[in-house]
Point group: D2
Chain length 102, copies 4
């Protein structure tokens, strides 16, 4: 889980993470989430924090009111690992119910 | 907001809170929420806590894994007030996106 | 971690969990925490939730304003396991900084 | 609360916020908090979020593992207001119990 992924593996994973952007150096991925309110944004962060702590892999993220910007990389591998994509997909799922709510 | 509601006002509010049960003594309302996981349940609790602290009106609630039981009453009014229904409706909204998510 | 503890092991653990009460049937332990505010109580719950999710062992707990009541048991073992005491000790540590703050 | 503070008022407030830095343009204040773990950092963020939502004044903040960087300003006033210092002092109090814990 903590081995650096090959370019090919990264490409395959990016196919499943359409809303994420790969950094030009290929070492991290990022996404901005926009919610309806601070309450929703922080609810998202709490659920994501529970997942992050469980898999022992934490995001670099910032929050301003109803926006959350996330950057994922694995420092110990100096690049992207399976853990980054596990966390990215979990965040997508957590955000989905909020972003799609009427 | 902190005046005790009449029976008629309680009835009108209960029409909008179909998933809540009025206690037989008419002094409190309760609802059980069932989510897909502990993470969802605690995300719900965090958003609800933010609303509760904002309106300075807090629930009596318990959590066991993916279930959250809520009881609302206003101690200072010895019964139900507009605040209880404000919090109940906010909780319904917060839960809705999770409960309806595929 | 999920094997039911012997009476002797429970006694040894209870020595380290002085603020917890063993149920008369010996199947669960409980503690009530009282904080200075709802904000502190919910901050405690959030840190405890992160630990609980990480070890995949969740409390039965209730919150009323600045109080949090916790009951710990392991359903799959029909009694107390090492996980219950791991979570109890983690909760004690999380609460300590708040309870001892001036 | 939402009126822009004079330079003199900012100076007086900065005396009480020794751990915060005033931006060179005088329009915002910032502080970095370092905790013992991600769990502590996120517990701090949750308590701070509850205060922020209550006073309807939200931080710009980022988190990387056990560090939290905070920047406070009031966009509507294009500078610092009493709300920024209210939130700064509340954050200091919330962090204190964690930072001073043994």
């Amino acid at each position: 889980m903590r081995d650096r992924l090959s370019e090919k593996d990264i490409s395959t994973n990016m196919e499943l993470c359409k809303d994420w952007a790969l950094a030009t150096d290929g070492l991290s991925i990022s996404r901005e989430f926009v919610f309806q309110s601070f309450v929703e944004a922080f609810g998202f962060m709490t659920e994501a924090a529970l997942v992050a702590e469980k898999i022992d892999h934490h995001p670099e993220w910032s929050n301003t009111w109803r926006k959350v910007k996330v950057n994922l990389t694995t420092h110990s591998a100096k690049g992207l690992t399976a853990l980054d994509f596990t966390l990215a997909k979990a965040m997508d799922q957590i955000a989905k119910k909020r972003l799609h709510s009427p």
